[in-house]
Symmetry: C2
Subunit: 916 residues, 2 copies
């Protein structure tokens, strides 16, 4: 089967697909990492070669397993053929190691039967997966009305979001006596509920709203949320992707608790048959009953005790030792439990009989798995779990009123026990009240400060939550297994070979290649880099509600510490595209650890490091001590290309799709915010309606990536996007010096690009920057050129302009002088740019340029060929705890060495051995 796929894929890769011939063809997908122990339904993406399948002509099915498949198209080639499909499989009793996705003519298998039932009424959406029925009210406070099992047990009702906030934070603990704090409590207030159209295997319910004050509080609705509930046929699990956008005032709206809460009906369940389960470490659990009958002075009987620990209904009381049954009233019922993970290293745990009494400490541990269960042996129960619970500290799990008719589970995405989330600036500007001073400060802290720009207004954060319904208290082994899946939700993906041959994610990467010592050395280096950063996440505790997922920018060799506190050297915010490196490294290796690392990075950088509402919507914010501290708000940082891999591979993750849409308005921001405002010497200023000026590298590449993705997706604005792509590319092509011009004058309304204001007559400007090509431009342009193809769709001269840039960036000063009338200044990141020369060499089959590329790669800047990729143990009093230090490594180099390595190997590996 695999060989057939290969053959077909190769045909596709050449772009000359035969029309569909009614013979089936198929693609294998397998689990990233080990096959999971259970499958409760998942969605995945599959790429296809250009021209191979037209959407209206084909269906998909699984040919090696008897399970239904829901399929839809998430991306198209320019010719309308399928570029990306997405597929959902239901919960299955067994888990196959791999699935074969077969493409069939459309007439076959069109009408699948499904056990999924979806009702979209005026008041609510109801989804019945066959295992659970869940209602989603369209108005009010309850994001989930009820969760009922097929066995008829209602195990969760009145699900709601919970938000606490306060308007101030005491400066110190001692000033708590003198600080007036207005506190507000909020609940979800639903504004819109939508449901997916095709629900044969998967139903997506999207709930949008804001948090609204309760109890007569006078705070406006705020903190908009989007909740995406994914339900699969036959599954009793719900995956919830929970996103919020910060729209408060950072010195008045401090989040002091953010969570999701469910009521659990328990009426009629004996207290000793009610069970609490809270996840400990490594699959461990606290296993308790609301009223314990173990460990007592009198023994009710071994059967009774064992049943309670196992979460089973106890034998009838008449069978117990009466010395226990006559005294049940003296055994405390534990109504409330609370688990707090206030650091990534330790959680505490406590319970109490009721409010007004003291909590009793329960021995805690290091890292909680983040799952809470409350339920009964006969009436069933609900489990709520958060992915990456301890990594996203401060988090918490609360059980309340477990002894009453209605218990409650709260998952705290931000624990109310922690200090409030403080999004204020970390310094007061230190007197940097002019651009001159700001630029001077930039020279020392590398922070590009500007008053008012250090705002989190518009950043977002997404969490993943899992809900599990049970007809009766499950075994804790079951909960442990489910929670393991919640922590690393199983992912299906095609083989690297196949993805590569489709060219759906470009032609700039190839499979690992150990066929020569020189190649093996590069492979080994790449492996070191990706592993080292994963270890650094742990060693440097890059965890936290907002922080988790990001990495740091530069190391402070003297302090054996990343420069977490030094201006522009702290949080990386995708600087120089580590996202691209990690994703491309995953594409070529298929490694599970790399996928998880890349996914986490994407979830952070796409949400926290970009603005999703407000004037700067669509822009990212530059690396800094806080993710939004820097005044450089730029498109290069929210570069949609960083999100593209995850988006398509995940089968079109809807939250990521929304983030991509957010960036479509990035070009509007140039009308009010000039990214070059502090360094511009041409006097240009943005004014609404007038042409705007932006860079042809960092700016245009980011916009182009967004336009291309929108075009691929055939999103609602795809024609506008296509037009802007063509218009700006044509404009660049028409510039006398093409990309070397550095910037252009862009007309937002019609999406065209003219020479920059300094050169209205297109006499030719030479203004290159080392940054132009290190924020995704090579990836975007090569994908774009392949998208346009070679049949004349690409604007005339555009490819040549890019080839010129690729050739001349690293060319000799003489060559530059000859071509442009002057040599380039400001050339650096030579190793990084070697992949541009490699692209040129491969494209033009030019061995000389290939040799130059390898020479630049091996012996310029970045990592020389002599660099040893090793980490050294540092311990003792020099560090807060022992670390393995790679003091020679910065994240810029991590990212760009990685990308240069991958792309040079893809383009010109044949000439490597001649160059070392």
């Amino acid at each position: 089967m695999a060989r057939l796929v290969w053959a077909l894929a190769l045909v596709g890769a050449l772009g000359r697909a035969a029309p569909f011939d009614n013979s089936s063809s198929s693609v294998r997908v397998s689990w990233v990492g080990d096959a999971p122990s259970q499958n409760f339904g998942t969605t995945f993406g599959l790429p296809w070669p250009q021209g191979k399948y037209q959407p209206e002509e084909v269906d998909f099915r699984i040919s090696n397993e008897e399970i239904p498949l829901q399929s839809w198209v998430t991306g198209y080639w320019r010719d309308g053929s399928i570029k990306w499909s997405a597929h959902a499989i239901p919960r299955t009793d067994n888990v196959a190691d791999e699935y074969t996705i077969e493409v069939t003519p459309v007439s076959k298998h069109r009408h699948q039967t499904t056990r999924m039932s979806v009702k979209d009424r005026d008041s609510e959406v109801t989804v019945n997966t066959g295992k659970i029925t869940v209602s989603f009210p369209k108005k009010g406070r309850h994001i989930v009305g009820s969760i009922k099992t097929a066995g008829g047990k209602t195990v969760g009702i009145n699900g709601r979001l919970v938000l606490y906030s306060q308007n101030s934070i005491p400066d110190t603990a001692s000033s708590r006596t003198s600080t007036t704090i207005d506190r507000h409590n909020f609940e979800s207030n639903i504004e819109e509920v939508t449901v997916s159209k095709d629900n044969s295997v998967r139903t997506l319910v999207t709930v949008r709203g804001k948090h609204t004050a309760i109890e007569g509080s006078d705070h406006d609705d705020w903190l908009p949320f989007v909740l995406r509930f994914y339900l699969y046929t036959d599954s009793d699990a719900i995956r919830l992707v929970h996103s919020i956008t910060f729209d408060g005032e950072n010195d008045k709206d401090f989040i002091s608790g953010l969570g999701i809460q469910f009521q659990v009906p328990l009426k009629g369940e004996k207290l000793y048959n009610r069970h609490v389960r809270l996840a400990g470490t490594d699959g461990g659990f606290l296993n308790e009953a609301v009223k314990g009958i173990t460990g007592l002075r009198r023994d009710p009987g071994a059967e009774v005790r064992t049943a309670q620990f196992e979460g089973k209904a106890l034998p009838d009381e008449s069978t117990w030792d009466t010395r226990v049954t006559t005294r049940l009233q003296w055994i405390p019922a534990w109504n409330d439990y609370s688990l707090s993970q206030l650091s990534p290293d330790g959680f505490t745990l406590k319970k109490r009989t009721q409010p007004g009494q003291s909590w009793v400490n329960i021995p805690g541990g290091t890292r909680s798995g983040g799952l809470a269960y409350l339920g009964g042996a006969t009436q069933g129960g609900l489990a709520v779990a958060q992915r990456d619970f301890w990594k996203r500290y401060p988090t918490g799990l609360d059980i309340a009123n477990a002894g009453s008719d209605e218990g409650q589970i709260t998952l705290w995405l931000y624990s109310p026990d922690a200090a409030p989330l403080d999004l204020r600036p970390y310094h007061d500007g230190m007197g940097q009240d002019t651009y001159e001073k700001q630029l001077d400060a930039l020279e020392i802290t590398y922070e590009d400060y500007e008053a008012g720009f250090d705002t989190p207004y518009g950043i977002a954060r997404t969490n993943e939550i899992f809900l599990y319904a049970f007809d009766s208290t499950p075994s804790s082994d079951t909960l442990a297994e489910l929670n393991a899946l919640a922590q690393e939700p199983p992912v299906l993906v095609a083989q690297p070979e196949y993805i590569k041959e489709t060219k759906a994610l470009g032609s700039y990467w190839a499979l690992p290649d150990d066929s020569s010592p020189a190649r093996t050395k590069i492979e080994s280096n790449l492996d070191f880099l990706v592993r080292h950063y994963q270890k650094e996440v742990e060693a440097r505790r890059w965890y936290g509600f907002l922080d988790y997922g990001d990495i740091m920018h530069t190391y402070d060799v003297d302090r054996h510490q990343w420069r977490y506190d030094i201006g522009g050297y702290a949080w990386d915010n995708s600087e120089l595209s580590p996202d691209l490196f990690v994703w491309q490294y995953f594409l070529r290796t298929g490694r599970a650890d790399v996928y998880r690392f890349a996914e986490t990075l994407t979830r952070h950088t796409g949400e926290v490091d970009s603005y999703h509402i407000g004037d700067w919507k669509g822009l990212g914010t530059r690396h800094g001590v806080t993710h939004w501290a820097d005044s450089a708000k730029q498109a290069r940082i929210s570069q949609p290309q960083y999100r593209k891999y995850f988006f398509y591979l995940s089968g079109g993750d809807e939250r990521t799709g929304e983030l991509l849409e957010d960036t479509l308005d990035a070009d509007m921001t140039y009308g009010i915010l000039d990214p070059q405002r502090k360094v511009r010497t041409d006097g240009w200023k943005p004014s609404p309606g007038a042409p705007v000026t932006f860079g042809l590298g960092t700016d245009w590449a980011a916009l182009a990536a967004g336009w291309l993705i929108e075009w691929e997706r055939r999103g609602p604005r795809w024609e506008e996007a296509r037009k802007k792509l063509a218009g700006t590319a044509a404009g660049i092509a028409k510039l006398k010096n093409g990309f070397v011009t550095g910037s252009g004058s862009y007309l937002i309304e019609n999406g065209t690009l003219l020479p920059p204001p300094t050169d209205p007559d297109n006499q030719g400007v030479v203004a290159i920057s080392h940054l132009n090509a290190v924020f995704g431009m090579p990836e975007v342009i090569s994908e774009l050129l392949e998208y346009w193809g070679d049949d004349g769709a690409a604007p005339e001269g555009f490819e040549e302009a890019w080839l010129d840039y690729a050739y001349y960036y690293g060319a000799t000063a003489e060559e530059q002088q000859t071509r442009y009338g002057q040599s380039f200044t400001g050339v650096s990141l030579v190793q990084a740019h070697s992949r541009l020369a490699a692209y040129y060499a491969a494209s033009q089959k030019n061995a000389t340029v290939a040799a130059r590329a390898w020479s630049d790669y091996l012996g310029s800047d970045g990592f020389r060929d002599t660099q040893e990729f090793v980490a050294v143990r540092v311990d003792g009093s020099a560090v807060i705890h022992p670390v393995d230090e790679a003091a020679w490594l910065s994240t810029n180099d991590f990212a760009q060495y990685g990308l240069a390595s991958i792309q040079n190997l893809a383009y010109i590996s044949n000439s490597l051995e001649n160059s070392v």
Copy 2:
């Protein structure tokens, strides 16, 4: 030398000392565990055989090292000869592995010269150790006026205690909006300052007072404290023993922060020469300057960078790269640092530029060493460290205003970032409003509840704090070393052989003996027990501000969990004397791990589990879910014998001495509180002035221990104590059935004991309890009998009464019948009591009884000879994290098997091999 000591010791052990003969004799003391890397002065105790040395005739000196020795007597034999001496050695440049303490005639070495200078003025005490000068004001808020180095640097001023409290706690996070909280801030208010008289090597300054409200708060002064500052000649370290007693209302006075704070003068020190050090994990440190000059965009020069990291003064600015010096104003100064250890597993760390700006997260870790340093490279600085910092969570370290003229260090013994300390009852009584109901509930939860008795009023807690003064910022290696010493302060102790031979801690223990398989097996079992409980402390997280030091009472086999939540099965509160077992195990082994475990246990049980003020002063409180939950407030739990070993070995630890004094009033409580009130059938009720009734086992043994210690110490009430001892012992002896009578009628005023109210004519009562002899009675009586000696000082018939009890407890029903007219009921803990028979057998040289003792030991209750002492791994979802479980082990058995083993081996080991 060792042999000589042995010989002398043996002479002493026989109680027939020759008068002092002018020839020197000596005793070796060595470090518990490895010799420390540094010695900054320490105090230790030494036992002496009865009759050997008269205090007025001898001096002590160190014969193998040229260092001064301060010596004083902490305990006397009955004849006035020295039983315990205490000795202090100063800080020394080198640390010897052992010291030889030589006893010399009094004429020699009487007037040691000292560099210690102590001035006791009206306004303050000033102590100059030769390295630091410390002033202790006698009034006001500042417990330390100033700390100056010999180099003239004032590195700490205005030391004060800090307390925050609040009058309520919101029931839930959501009710924070609707809960009114009155908060109060307090500082130390000094009431009394005293200073030791002999200060040649060690000076002890004792500061007493209460916490007083500041800023016009209307709260009374409360939470009395005693601070004991220990200063040694030549030392720049101060050891501070910090004790508080809770005298608040447990539903109105919630401690929300408790700490000690010092101001650190920094005026004139450049910001880049100011250093912050905060202890991380395993000797690790955060090493930062207030204004960092490493990791910047421009390099000031390698020398500059290295100097800053190492805490040295930077080279003159003129030598730096001017690209840095011209921009120093743009580098943030970090004024405030905060480390929070809110769980025993993880600490977080943050800093900020100033109040009003957000904190910046610093990568934290697992367990902080608990030391904070603030100071300057030229002006010196101060380090504050807490012993057992993370084990006593929630704790914290704050640095504030480090960029101002006066920085501040706060050590939080109770972190203000944590939920307030909640000392309320954990349940509402569940309707137990009669003794009948309470006794019924006792049958199921084993909790002896009574409304109003679940109060923490009068409990105490002691912490150890270390202060270190520096002329300049020290290396972090130095800080790590000092902090290691703060965590396990070096302890000097004599050899087990020597201690045993002096009999100063009884004759009921012997050295480990591996001379036969049967002995080796017992030794191995004991080793298992002591190691297992140490591991359980970690596995079960028996940590916390109040909890640390205690162990749990009984295991819940079904839940794989100690019964932390089940009435009388939770915190152990010395039930059945684990304190005695662990201390005796230390005496025989000299093992460092055992010493630390025993010390920690003593520090907890002596403070938290007893009342130190109020009506119940001197009583302990029975095992329970909270340390004070149980209504059984009894002398057996505050048994002074539990504190005796540590008191004397430590050279008379003054805090422990105070706790011992607290128990001297325990007999007064019987006039108002009848320990047997719920089960008494004789109708007796306490009334002030009238005779009181109490048990001859648990009650009398505890009182007797306190009286004996007071007599030994020749404390202020020693004659009263001696009288009460003799009076009650004589009373017991006169009872027809002696100890078997069970209880007696005690006249508090004159300290005599009469037959119980039920038998005023002394006809003979038989009322034994399995508990009588398992709370220290065997240890107390055997020490007391040795103290009285065999020259007629002991009340007539007293020894016989005890021998009768020892013999008949485990005798046959027939023998009991013959002797007492009836056989005993209620006999259990047979294995535990085998040591009474062993005592009898050794005393009476009775091989038959010895065999009976071994038989009871090996094959009755407790652990049978067939018991395998092993732990089994339990992991997976059954437990919150993996544990090594010894489900067969309860703490009662731990303690009493341990004591029976030790004492049987001491008394009748020769007959063991015949009995197995």
